[in-house]
């Protein structure tokens, strides 16, 4: 079976999974449904890891981290915060199982990051602004004390004396349990992820009966603190995958206490009742949908954090979150608009921390919808897309709508990812050029342009800052003769249509995050056709040439030639423009003045590990 066939099959299974896992709890209880959820993976918290090699772009990246440029590091205002933090979020985790229905939710990932601990995490160093910047490619052991690679075999040594919140000591049993649990529900996201990206488990013959899905060759216990992982084929991404937020290790003792015959892996318990992790915190109170409170795990191996009690509260209104953090009613919040971060940055009571990760804004003209399909002619389509790319006032958007807290995106792969190419000013704001291209495509001055693609959709809940962008684009497109309408969609609808149905005719994407910091991976996520293993090709881009190179680089162990292949792929993308890249924006977080130690991740969990926060 070729890789191609394999990934196709897995893809099909994955689709099953979405149906099952996304539908509801009972299904999970029955644990009878297979699936992977590529779509949600796209939204999923990206793994915190780095590519093997540091992204080449970093040294040259012109504006480093805009918010970090804040005139002077605000003097740590004498905020007497105490040992409790109030964190405001747009949503509160509806479930806490890394393999549960809600694993894709930012709020769930934020909570998991506090409750569970991982084998490894990327190394981070705190910069002057109090941001723990990940240093891609270097890892520190967490639950793992050390590890050794030998071909396809990785030998892991666990840290001794690590005690869970429930008081149980970590042993290889817990690793076995956690992996078995992942496999039992495979192929669901994490299992799938381990398999496809890190090539850990042989999942080519999925079995719907969980009882027959024990760990086989891929895992072996040596003693209480030593175990071996085996890969199917060489993949440099294992360390990248392990820090994925929902890959936390379970306290098997506690989990088994709560298992039932129907639910041997305690999914109901882990998803809806309590956590069972080795993380820094444990749950004290959970008001579904409204708030979740945590207190410190006294046994945490890294010691006590400065903030002992956490309260996550749901405050969907950005304005309310802003006021709350200003008034000191809350200490941490995210999910604000650039403007709000900008405003907060001026306030003495609040510090805004920022890091330029892989959050981007792009237009997604769908190949299924006219006029972007170009009537079936790829050339017309390409010309139209290029016209769009020349018609967008990048600088205005960055300055007016993002207050300079973003940079123009000169490519279709996040600039900090491994293998990303910066195409410079391949496209810049040039309305005359846009008009020319439009005419060339057969639509002089926009005459003759029609179709559902002229309705631009975006997430209504993000309207406060994405709508100005949409309006600016609308105005700019009108200027070159493309008249579009706006159609904000509720988040759930937008996400479903964007990731599952792929039928949004024209979307304004925001916060699209890739999970693997690797150009190949991001291509697989966004641009490869489903037939060749593409995951979230929401604009239905299909290029045989591109797919062919992708499949080659995927199994290419040679670093140099793989880099060349990835560059070739991006060269195709930048001409075809399956999406119109607009900008990369900063990941930001607002904290009560004086709080430091934010450990950002290139994902949606935003808040990161709170354990590292301090004043």
């Amino acid at each position: 079976m070729t890789d191609h066939e394999k990934s196709q099959q897995i893809y099909q299974l994955g689709m099953h999974a979405i149906r099952g896992t996304m539908s509801r709890k009972q299904l999970l209880k029955r644990a009878a449904v297979l699936g992977i959820v590529p779509s949600v993976v796209a939204l999923l918290a990206a793994c915190g890891g780095d590519s093997v090699a540091p992204p080449p772009a970093e040294p040259e990246a012109p504006p480093a981290d805009p918010p970090a440029d804040a005139p002077e590091p605000a003097p740590p205002a004498a905020a007497d915060i105490g040992d409790s933090l109030v964190i405001l979020e747009t949503e509160i985790a509806p479930g806490l199982d890394g393999e549960g229905t809600s694993f894709g939710q930012i709020s769930t990932q934020t909570a998991l990051a506090q409750l569970y601990e991982h084998l490894v995490q990327p190394m981070r160093t705190e910069d002057a602004n109090g941001v723990l910047v990940p240093e891609f490619g270097t890892y520190e052991g967490r639950l793992a004390e050390s590890w050794e690679q030998n071909g396809l075999e990785w030998t892991w040594k666990l840290r001794e004396g690590v005690i869970s919140a429930a008081g149980n000591e970590l042993t290889t049993k817990d690793i076995e349990y956690s992996l078995a649990r992942i496999k039992a529900f495979s192929p669901i996201p994490i299992g799938w992820f381990l398999m496809t990206v890190a090539s850990i488990m042989s999942l080519d013959l999925p079995n719907t009966d969980p009882s027959e899905r024990g760990l086989a060759d891929e895992f072996e216990i040596v003693d209480d603190y030593t175990f071996i992982l085996r890969q199917m084929e060489p993949s440099p991404n294992l360390l990248t995958v392990l820090p994925v937020v929902s890959l936390g290790i379970y306290d098997s003792a506690k989990m088994l206490e709560n298992a039932t015959d129907e639910d041997p892996f305690s999914r109901d318990f882990a998803d809806q009742v309590d956590s069972a992790g080795f993380g820094a915190y444990s749950i004290t109170n959970w008001d579904k949908g409204e708030s979740i409170s945590m207190t410190v795990n006294p046994n945490y191996f890294r010691g006590e954090p400065e903030f002992k009690n956490l309260t996550f509260r749901r405050v969907p209104q950005a304005g309310a979150r802003v006021t709350a953090i200003q008034s000191g009613d809350a200490n941490v919040t995210t999910g604000l608009s650039p403007k709000e971060f900008h405003e907060l940055d001026q306030s003495d009571a609040v510090d805004v921390l920022g890091w330029l990760g892989n959050v981007f804004v792009a237009l997604g003209p769908n190949y299924k919808s006219e006029p972007w399909a170009g009537g079936g002619d790829p050339d017309t389509s390409r010309l139209l897309r290029q016209a769009l790319a020349y018609a967008i006032p990048y600088d205005d958007i960055i300055e007016q709508d993002f207050f300079g807290q973003a940079i123009k995106w000169n490519g279709l792969i996040s600039s900090k990812f491994y293998g990303a190419v910066d195409f410079g000013d391949r496209y810049s704001y040039d309305p005359d050029r846009a008009r020319e291209l439009l005419a060339e495509a057969g639509f002089p001055e926009g005459t003759g342009l029609e179709g559902p693609g002229l309705t631009l959709s975006y997430i209504a809940e993000h309207a406060s800052f994405i709508e100005p962008v949409a309006n600016r684009i609308r105005t700019a497109l009108a200027d070159v003769g493309i008249n579009i309408e706006l159609d904000p969609l509720p988040q759930t609808q937008f996400v479903d249509r964007e990731t599952n149905l792929d039928d949004i005719p024209f979307s304004l994407l925001d916060q699209q995050v890739a999970i693997g910091p690797d150009a190949g991976y991001q291509s697989q996520l966004n641009h490869v056709t489903p037939d060749n293993g593409g995951l979230d090709n929401s604009v239905n881009y299909a290029s045989a040439e591109f797919d062919a190179i992708y499949l080659e680089q995927k199994v290419n162990p040679d670093v140099e030639s793989r880099l060349a292949q990835m560059e070739a792929m991006q060269a195709i993308l930048i001409e075809d423009l399956p999406r119109i890249p607009i900008l990369e924006r900063a990941s930001q977080i607002a904290v009560t003045a004086g709080i430091r130690g934010w450990s950002p991740k290139p994902d949606g969990s935003r808040v990161g590990e709170i354990w590292t926060m301090h004043t």
Partner: protein
């Protein structure tokens, strides 16, 4: 009288059932498809089928309706498509918030509007009467959500008298768990007076907003009906009969309350639905926002649960209103159209 009440009671259940069924059918008639949203466009037929089976949409309309109605008997609305939780439990958390908001808002509005309306009715043509009448007209025609924002701007942002709009309590405070889920009751039951005060502060602005808007129409009706009574022949005759002022006041009160009862009922039903606006402004986790967000999520069981509760609430209000009206005005006991 008892016949009247009985007749109204007999209507109650069929009406509730009708709304429940219409709501149920409406969700299935509207162009939304929870299955597609769950499965995605690449879903195979089996996948669609399995998802359908899971959420029960594979069965015939009649069967679905049957089990929905069966659930209704035990107030079981099923489990949410989105959260997987029991909709009844979710409603149990949300409903108290909205009921407290509009309940207190209405009590205050009535306590202000009734005596004031009665008072200005006796001062027709006077300055206070004119100002109050204009106020009544004005307040009855206002966007409450906007006033909520204005109040927030003034009393929170500018003056800092009230806490940030962050729900029922300060973010650090944790609401007691039960027994009623009404925070004002639960905090007292548990003797958590600090939480009670905090809740009071958090509810203050939304309630003031609601009261500000509600006072208008109630005042208008109260003024008019008190005016009608004051200028009525029977009141004049009561005076001409040498009745004591106390008796005359009782007569005025009793006869002018009936229209107030009606308008209160109508407003109450509307406020339950309109509460979503104030809840949104003040981030109160109430029923309105629940209904809104679950509507956005195409969460059928949750929407159905919300519809049934709201219908039951509305019908109960109308029932109580009719009975009160009949108690106050014997004329309707005999014939009511």
């Amino acid at each position: 009288m008892s016949g009247f009440v009985l007749r109204r009671l007999l209507l109650f259940l069929p009406q509730l059932l009708a709304i429940a069924i219409v709501g149920f059918a409406l969700l299935r008639l509207l162009p939304v498809d929870p299955v597609s949203r769950i499965v995605g466009s690449f879903g195979t037929d089996e996948a669609r089928q399995s998802a359908k089976e899971t959420i029960g949409l594979d069965r015939s309309f009649g069967e679905q309706l049957g089990s929905f109605l069966e659930g209704l008997l035990t107030l079981d609305f099923g489990e949410s498509f989105v959260s997987g939780d029991s909709v009844r439990a979710e409603l149990g958390d949300r409903i108290p918030v909205t009921l407290q908001l509009i309940g207190i808002g209405f009590v205050l509005a009535l306590v202000i509007a009734i005596p004031l309306g009665r008072y200005i009715a006796s001062k027709v043509g006077g300055r206070i009467e004119k100002v109050t009448t204009v106020y009544a007209l004005f307040a009855g025609a206002q966007p409450d959500f906007w006033w909520g924002l204005i109040f927030l701007f003034v009393f929170f942002f500018k003056l800092g008298w009230f806490p940030a709009p962050l729900g029922q309590l300060d973010p650090t405070q944790i609401a007691p768990d039960g027994p009623t889920r009404f925070i004002f009751i639960d905090t007292l039951v548990h003797g958590q007076f600090d939480l009670f005060v905090s809740a009071l502060k958090h509810y203050a602005l939304p309630i003031i907003t609601l009261t500000f808007v509600l006072t208008g129409p109630i005042l208008k009706i109260m003024r008019q009906s008190a005016l009608d009574v004051i200028s009525s022949d029977y009141l004049l005759y009561a005076k001409a009969s040498g009745f004591t002022p106390k008796r005359v006041r009782r007569m005025t009160a009793r006869n002018s309350f009936a229209p107030v009862v009606t308008i209160t009922g109508v407003l109450l039903v509307f406020a339950l639905g309109g509460a979503v606006l104030i809840e949104t402004v003040f981030a109160l986790p109430g029923l309105g926002r629940y209904a809104l967000s679950r509507t956005l999520d195409t969460d059928f069981p949750a929407i159905q649960g919300a519809i049934v509760f709201m219908a039951a609430f509305g019908l109960t209000v109308y029932l109580v209103m009719d009975i009160l009206y009949a108690l106050l005005d014997p004329r309707v006991r005999h014939s009511r159209d």
